[in-house]
């Protein structure tokens, strides 16, 4: 079978990029959560009294019974356990750390939900589910979830 030979004299690659300004609004509940991390180095959640569940990060409504929760703030411990984890093996300029790094689900003492964050101070192959960790807050704050810089093993 004859193959069609393409004329490639004019084939080349154009470099470009797609840069788009984005804006994320943390909302009233999200703002209070981040401001507390930034100014008080405290992790806040909300509690549903009806379901007796504590949610971290906080949210405006209970996902189970739809009760409004934003008036019922609770302060959580800076310590918790790893409930699951993954190791990020690729680098990308938009990622918060250089690979490899650990991204874990952490359930704080007193909370009923886990939330993802970075774990440092341990080799990726040494991390285990159930490991106790504590929060380390950022020296330089950025008005983001990274004002809680990372967790480290206790």
């Amino acid at each position: 079978m004859a193959t069609h030979k393409e004329d490639t004299r004019y084939c080349f690659v154009q470099e470009g990029k797609m840069a788009l300004p984005n804006q994320y609004f943390a909302g009233r509940v999200g703002s209070k959560f981040i401001i507390s991390l930034r100014d008080k180095k405290k992790i806040l959640g909300v509690k549903c009294n009806k379901c007796n569940k504590v949610f971290v990060p906080p949210r405006e409504y209970c996902e189970r019974c739809m009760s409004r929760l934003d008036e019922n703030w609770v302060e959580l411990s800076n310590e918790g356990v790893i409930t699951n984890y993954t190791v990020v093996h690729y680098n990308d300029k938009h990622l918060p750390r250089k690979a490899p790094y650990i991204l874990a689900l952490i359930k704080l003492d007193g909370a009923d939900t886990s939330f993802p964050h970075i774990v440092e101070g341990i080799e990726p192959n040494k991390v285990t589910i159930g490991m106790k960790v504590k929060a380390v807050f950022a020296e330089e704050t950025t008005n983001t979830i990274l004002d809680l810089d990372h967790f480290e093993p206790m």
Binding site: Y10, F12, V13, G16, M18, N22, Q23, F25, N143
Partner: protein
């Protein structure tokens, strides 16, 4: 006195000394000039030295930095009604002198608070410009078009079946679905068919910077052989200062970059030929 958002330019300057934050001014020695245009505007100079601040009318002869902007934008910025980053990138604040000093000056004062206004709850907005690198393989047909730009020429391709001329050229004729391998040169001059004027400050995807508005996309018919109805129109920007005076059928010509490399930005825009 002209008010913007219920506040005059003078209100802002008159309260500057009392809103000054000496704790943020340690080691800072600068003279900041303001040239505020429009109703209620004027010139002011703020001197910050030894952790004190003084405000005087008029522009000092030697300023670390001079900022020029419209009265409405000045008041809006001070009240937090206008976002600083957007207004700077849109070129609506002209800065002469030390850019860094202009940035520093913003931190030296507490925010202006209109009388009786309540302290707003702090809400967090995150702004970022994610930039994703892209690569585009031209292929042999579109590649010919880009190679043409390098020589400041427009290449189109012609359908062997129906005779349509396509620009930019594509592998096959959109009507007949047959390969089009014959190239013809169009333009470089042509006539304006229509303008699409954009007043929304959309970002330029190559930089993420907000475009100056209005800008207009022109649909033009480049000169060429053969019947007009068999020739595709071509779309690109038109020079901003031509937007107002443009009319259907105007003769236009391309304006090229100083150096053409065979890329997206070789053709800057079209302009009306007088």
């Amino acid at each position: 006195m002209a008010e913007y958002y219920g506040v005059t330019v003078e209100d802002i300057f008159n309260t500057m000394e009392e809103r000054f934050r000496p704790d943020k001014a340690e080691g800072i020695d600068m003279t900041i000039g303001y040239d505020i245009a429009g109703e209620g505007g004027g010139k002011w100079t703020i001197t910050v030295k030894d952790q004190t601040c003084s405000v005087k009318k008029g522009l000092a002869s030697k300023c670390t930095v001079v900022m020029r902007m419209a009265a409405q934008n000045f008041v809006g910025l001070n009240l937090g009604k206008i976002d600083a980053v957007s207004i700077f990138t849109a070129g609506k604040v002209k800065i002469e002198g030390d850019m860094e000093a202009a940035g520093t000056s913003a931190k030296l004062f507490k925010r202006f608070k209109a009388e009786g206004a309540e302290e707003a709850e702090e809400l967090i907005r995150l702004k970022c410009v994610p930039s994703i690198d892209q690569r585009f393989a031209t292929g042999p047909i579109m590649g010919r078009f880009f190679a043409g730009l390098k020589e400041r020429k427009f290449y189109a391709n012609k359908c062997p079946k129906c005779g349509r001329v396509q620009i930019p050229p594509r592998e096959i004729c959109a009507d007949c679905r047959v390969r089009c391998t014959e190239f013809v040169e169009l333009g470089p001059k042509g006539n304006l068919l229509l303008l699409d004027i954009c007043y929304y400050a959309s970002p330029d995807p190559l930089t993420g910077e907000v475009r100056e508005t209005p800008y207009a996309v022109a649909v033009v018919l480049l000169e060429g052989e053969g019947p007009v109805e068999k020739r595709e129109s071509f779309t690109h920007f038109i020079k901003s200062s031509d937007i107002e005076r443009a009319n259907f059928g105007d003769k236009i010509r391309p304006v090229w970059a100083k150096e053409c490399t065979g890329g997206f930005d070789d053709l800057l825009y079209f302009e009306i030929e007088d």
